[in-house]
């Protein structure tokens, strides 16, 4: 396991800035501070924790909490399912399509982009779940990093739910100091672009990441007037309304398009993919359609939908079931992990 410089830098930066802004007091306990900086569950790929949340937890005496530990194990299990079953299986097909993109028609490239979007979400949120769960086993509470972003009804909501620890970091330490939403419309738009361009650049020194940041900024600016949607979609109901469904599908489509930039090797590669997608070939049948993954994706999407108001998909699922049925459900997840686990793939965010 190697240290992710991004997480380490952001965490120590937030400590320094918060100290300067007098939001926290300096830690005089070196062991606690060093533990905060190098806390192993989230050191590799986040969540990027704030000193104000994590540091005080090192100062208090922790006692074993049975329910928190069980919850931690449950979250680890769900994270493993997302990573090994969903992300790794999607990765196999996303890689085939993106690595040979010149051979495929527009509809196949959309299938590839779809698989990559699911892959990156399950890969990264799966890692976050494992990190949060492992921390909970040790008696620490880390912040939620993904809040079911694919059920967002607009891009503003999507960015409130995607990589929350990084988004809020940029909001607090870049966007707000720049003036945030105050000032003229031009100022506000400029601030959004600055934040997203830096965020893109953080992912790598490649124009594709910068373009990805710019495209997301553009989406955000165009949907500024969208409602804030502080509540989760269809809260208290089993199914979403038609309007919500259309909004969710539209937002998801925009994120799929944006992630093409994220996955492409170069701007030229992106251009060739977009040229094919926005051509007549998009109306032909996909040349690659791995049908065996879809039942797993449907199961995954269903569980995520049911658990969308919680911290993670299976947090409350089955808690009031008969223990035998509940354990059977967990056994089923373990069997799916063992049996349908895709080809071994490193976590995408280990590189950032």
């Amino acid at each position: 396991m190697w240290v992710n410089c991004g997480v380490y830098t952001f965490q120590t930066l937030s400590y320094t800035v918060d100290l300067y802004m007098r939001k926290i007091v300096a830690s005089k306990d070196f062991i606690s501070f060093a533990s905060f900086v190098s806390f192993f569950p989230q050191l590799v790929a986040g969540p990027i924790e704030r000193a104000s949340n994590l540091l005080p937890q090192f100062h208090v005496k922790r006692t074993f909490n049975y329910h928190a530990s069980v919850d931690g194990l449950r979250q680890i299990l769900w994270g493993l399912f997302k990573k090994i079953v969903i992300a790794n299986n999607c990765a196999e097909w996303a890689n085939i399509i993106f690595n040979n993109s010149e051979l495929y028609n527009g509809s196949t490239l959309i299938v590839g982009a779809f698989f990559f979007t699911i892959q990156i979400y399950c890969d990264f949120s799966g890692y976050s779940d494992i990190a949060i769960g492992a921390a909970r086993l040790l008696g620490f509470n880390l912040m939620q990093n993904f809040a079911f972003p694919f059920f967002s009804r607009n891009i503003v909501e999507f960015w409130r739910r995607w990589h929350i620890s990084l988004s809020t970091w940029f909001r607090d330490y870049v966007y707000f100091p720049l003036g945030g939403s105050y000032g003229t419309k031009t100022r506000k738009i400029t601030n959004v672009f600055i934040v997203f361009l830096i965020s893109g650049l953080w992912h790598g020194a490649n124009w594709t990441f910068i373009a990805w940041g710019a495209l997301n900024a553009l989406f955000l600016v165009l949907t500024f007037k969208s409602s804030f949607n502080s509540k989760t979609v269809a809260e208290g109901r089993l199914f979403p309304g038609i309007r919500d469904l259309i909004n969710i599908s539209f937002t998801f489509s925009l994120t799929v398009l944006a992630f093409i930039l994220f996955r492409s090797e170069s701007i030229h590669h992106t251009y060739s993919i977009f040229s094919e997608i926005f051509s007549a070939s998009v109306f032909s049948l996909p040349e690659v359609l791995p049908k065996n993954i879809f039942p797993l994706l449907a199961l995954f999407a269903g569980i995520e939908w049911i658990g969308r108001t919680h911290q993670y998909g299976i947090e409350k699922l089955g808690l009031n079931w008969n223990p035998m049925v509940r354990n059977g459900f967990y056994y089923l997840i373990i069997i799916l992990i063992i049996w349908f686990g895709g080809k071994e793939e490193e976590f995408i965010y280990f590189q950032f």
Partner: protein, 201 residues
């Protein structure tokens, strides 16, 4: 409280390892892609024995050797040359000539072939330490007992953990030196399209 937690975790995984998982494997035995039974210390041998047991009832011509034979003989060409559909490529990776000799004796006992093609290079004469455990091979190839019986009698948990993904890889990845997705005669020609050559080889 922590004792209770540990007790429950052990109980949960204990049930899983002893009851749930074995039951699931038994129920789905015919549907799942299990690794080949652990009949020798070479996975390539195990995979080839599984192939022969499942697919070959008679063999008039045998091809014997190691990876040279496995990957470089075009099965249909050999079958056409000998005008037979009962050709069997018995080759497995790294099988030296002395081990091959024992292996041929078993196959000869079972199939009584008319011709044996031996395709070797110098490295096949190097003596290597193979623990091939041939005692069960004949019984396995002549289908004495069910396939499941051999999984159980040779059961080794680390072997299954190690090879559950590996089996899928060798059976499907045509662009790998380790490819073992056999044709109907037991040959495994590597696909040159997209293949990354290892210069060290």
């Amino acid at each position: 409280m922590i004792k209770e937690f540990i007790k429950r975790v052990i109980k949960f995984f204990g049930y899983f390892c002893l009851i749930v998982f074995p039951s699931w494997v038994l129920i789905n035995y015919n549907k799942i892609d299990l690794p080949a039974p652990n009949l020798s210390n070479s996975y390539s041998v195990n995979e080839k024995l599984l192939f022969i047991r499942k697919n070959i009832d008679s063999a008039e011509v045998l091809a014997v050797g190691s990876s040279m034979t496995l990957n470089n003989l075009h099965s249909q060409t050999i079958a056409d040359y000998y005008q037979t559909s009962h050709f069997l490529n018995t080759a497995v990776w790294g099988l030296v000539i002395s081990s091959n000799y024992e292996y041929i004796k078993i196959l000869d006992d079972i199939y009584h072939p008319k011709d044996i093609i031996i395709y070797l290079n110098l490295s096949d004469f190097v003596e290597r330490d193979h623990n091939l455990r041939m005692e069960q091979w004949k019984a396995y190839l002549t289908k004495k007992g069910s396939g499941l019986q051999y999984h159980l009698t040779t059961f080794n948990f680390p072997y299954y953990i190690k090879n559950s993904k590996y089996a899928k890889h060798v059976r499907t990845d045509k662009n790998s030196y380790e490819y073992l997705g056999y044709d109907q005669f037991g040959g495994a020609n590597i696909d040159s399209a997209g293949f990354i050559r290892n210069e060290n080889r």
